[in-house]
């Protein structure tokens, strides 16, 4: 997967990324690339570890293993897992938004966008000293920053409300403002965590237009987590699918859409089918676990919102306790198992049962 003719084609290369919280493996050995100038979507069921990947890329988590390389357009590259949190937007030019919107609600829209230009303005104000004494260089930079903010407010269709507090905006407008704020940092890679969550179809269409505009006019590459498939399929050039912290599919939207493993991960497989598969595989232990469902207390349950919650709260959440995904939980794995088991003879099934070496097509989940 890592063979690439020129590394500069890829803005982001994630290699063998793992993130463990105590015993819980949120991401296991994930590798993917995002091409420059494209929209790459990261999708997967709830609790698949998408936001954790984002938090690793943007420095809110330090990954347990792996390498995240960001190649800037000027040829310099940064290892994001080594940069301190605030230097990732400042030096590597990666900006992000949050699943639960994090605006400066008591500040006006304009001020929100000016805060985003902090580092640039800080330099222009001579680290406060020149600005404090009213040097003209700062005044010029300040006027430029207001122009840039105005530009993005116009793009996000919010310029009429520029002097209102951000907390006063409706939800959809807050989403757009957060994107505009991220764009004001002048990013080369924009990471959007569920930008369409909670939007109505009209707002969703406006969001698509904004993202396409960013992609076509600024040269900023976009990495996107999304559940809304209409957004993903319409605008993304490349889709990476995660399930329980592992990549199960990677390719164009069309190929992903028809991938049986993806369908299984989202829609599940029939219970009957599962049982046949598991009997074929000969894992009684798994059947037992399947009956009780995924261990909600430990493994990622149906709603693993704790993975997506306030980022600072998650670390150290389950120290010293080994938590694993219950064996039958991964639907994609069941599809693989079925595919592998099918060629085997039914006669073999009866005898092969107690061997203990269960076929693990996508192994490694221990």
């Amino acid at each position: 997967m890592s063979a690439s003719p020129s590394t500069n084609d890829f803005i982001l290369q994630v290699e063998h990324l793992s993130m463990k919280f105590g015993g819980l493996i949120a991401i296991g050995d994930l590798s993917f690339q995002a091409r420059r100038g494209e929209i790459t979507a990261l999708i997967g069921p709830n609790g698949a570890g998408k936001t954790t990947v984002f938090n690793c890329i943007t420095g809110f988590y330090k990954p347990s293993e792996g390498m995240i390389t960001l190649n800037r357009i000027d040829g310099s590259s940064y290892l994001l897992e080594r940069l301190p949190n605030h230097e990732i937007p400042a030096r590597a030019k990666v900006a992000r938004t949050f699943q639960n919107i994090r605006l400066f609600s008591g500040m006006t829209l304009l001020e929100n966008l000016l805060v985003a230009q902090h580092n640039k303005l800080m330099k222009a104000s001579g680290y406060t000293m020149l600005g404090l004494f009213g040097f003209s260089s700062y005044r010029k930079a300040s006027a430029e920053s207001i122009d840039l903010a105005k530009h993005w407010l116009e793009k996000a269709n919010l310029v009429d409300r520029a002097d209102d507090p951000a907390g006063d905006l409706p939800y959809g407008a807050q989403r757009r403002l957060e994107i505009a704020r991220a764009m004001c940092t002048g990013p080369e890679l924009l990471c959007l965590d569920e930008p369409a969550a909670g939007l109505n179809p009209k707002e969703s269409a406006a969001l698509n237009a904004l993202l396409m505009d960013i992609k076509n006019n600024t040269g900023t590459s976009i990495l996107l987590i999304e559940h809304d498939m209409s957004v993903v399929m319409q605008i993304s050039d490349h889709v990476v699918v995660l399930e329980y912290g592992r990549k199960i599919s990677d390719g164009s939207p069309q190929s992903v859409r028809t991938d049986p493993r993806v369908i299984a991960a989202y829609l599940g497989v029939d219970d009957e089918e599962v049982e046949t598969v598991l009997i074929e595989v000969g894992d009684e232990d798994v059947i037992e676990q399947l009956d009780t469902g995924p261990d909600a207390a430990h493994g990622p349950g149906t709603s693993s919102s704790f993975l997506a919650g306030p980022v600072t709260d998650t670390i150290g959440h389950s120290e010293g306790e080994r938590v694993t995904v219950s064996k039958g939980a991964s639907k994609a794995e069941q599809v693989d198992a079925k595919a592998n088991a099918a060629p085997r003879k039914p006669a073999e099934r009866a005898t092969a049962k107690p061997t203990g070496s269960t076929p693990k097509p996508r192994g490694g989940r221990k």
Binding site: T58, G59, F60, N85, H86, E87, I88, P89, A90, A95, R96, F98, R102, L103, F104, S105, G106, M107, T108, L110, E111, L114, V115, A116, Q117, H118, N119, L121, M122, S125, T128, G131, L132, G134, Y138, S142, I146, K150, V159, A162, D163, D164, P165, A166, G167, D168, R181, A182, T185, P310, V311, T312
Partner: protein, 464 residues
Amino acid sequence: MAVTVSPERDVVATPVQRAFREALYAGAIALGLFVLFIGLKTDQNISNELILLQRWGLLAIVVIATAVGRFVYVGYAQPAMERAKAQKAAAPAAAATAPGFVRRNFNQIGVAVLLLYPVVIVLMFGFQGSLKWVDNFGIQILIYVMLAWGLNIVIGLAGLLDLGYVAFYAVGAYAYALLGTHFGLSFWILLPAAGLMAAFWGVMLGFPVLRLRGDYLAIVTLAFGEIIRLVLINWREVTNGSAGISGIPKVTFFGLMSFNVSDPNYIAKVLGIAQSGAYYKIFLYYLILGLCFLTAFVTIRLRRLPVGRAWEALREDEIACRSLGINTTTTKLTAFATGAMFGGFAGSFFAARQGFVSPESFVFLESAIILAIVVLGGMGSLGGIAVAALVMIGGTEILRELNFLKVVFGPDFTPELYRMLLFGMAMVIVMLWKPRGFVGSREPTAFLKERKAVSGSFTKEGHG
């Protein structure tokens, strides 16, 4: 105190009837509450025995006052207020568009009043009579204004709850006291030195508490304030312990004139005017006023600079700040250092004004008062904080002047003792009436079309 009368009863009962009934209830409640508090008092008689004094007259006065107060409030004040509200609702546009002259030019009027205050006082009371008014009211209040404006940077802008602010005040005061008495350095050199020293300690405190938030931060800063005070008490060789440092040199008029009568360049000798202690006080008044203006100027300027915006952004959402490339560590440290620096300035001024410092002046209560001023004034607002300092410090000082209370409550009544009670009552009342302080809204630092104040309901208090 909530009036919970059902509408049906409203129809049958006229306001006066209702007021009469509620007055009876209020009187009964007051009687029940105060019968033991006021009606009875334990005392010692001449042979050291415990006796019970009965004060039914006083109890009756209190109960009747409560009942009459309730009667007037329900019967007359409430209907009047409702009428006023209805009138206001009928003509809302006129009221909204025309804020009064005082409100529009509040800052200009405030500055003019502050500049003219000593002149007016001297004209009214003469030099000797002006001493009390300039010193106890003017200088005292302005010191707290400056301290509160300094703390406002840390709490109001950056949202870091600092309960140990008085430590920086102490550092500034002792820096001036020690360097001034031992090395004879001038105030004008030591003022910036004390500020830098306090800023240094601000950074020192800032480093360990960077990772703490909210209540934890408050507790550690509280501990820091106590540590500084205990060091000042126990490091006898340097600080002279609880006895304090006296004989701190006075401020000179930029080295040109002195305020010591014995000096050859004493101001009265240089200018050829009569000797008076009031010159020094008036000079100090303008000095602290100048320092206050400096604080205000720097605060206003900083808010429009990226660092000030980053402070406010930090108060609103720290994680979002980091996602925008803001170094939250240095941002927090600059907030601590800047706030501490103004505390240090105020401290060195305090030492120069008193001529004496001791750890007694830097107890936790001082931190609490400064914090109360910031909260009462409205976090982040300079005007509101100045008004709050005037009310809180001026209010407690004015209690000393209320001699007529002795006529009411007897000659051994000392209103100063009720300072804290009134202080608390005032805070409760203000917080009920204006939960976000006198000025709850926030002025935006930049605008495209018009500057609209941001309502307090959107701003956050910060989590440390």
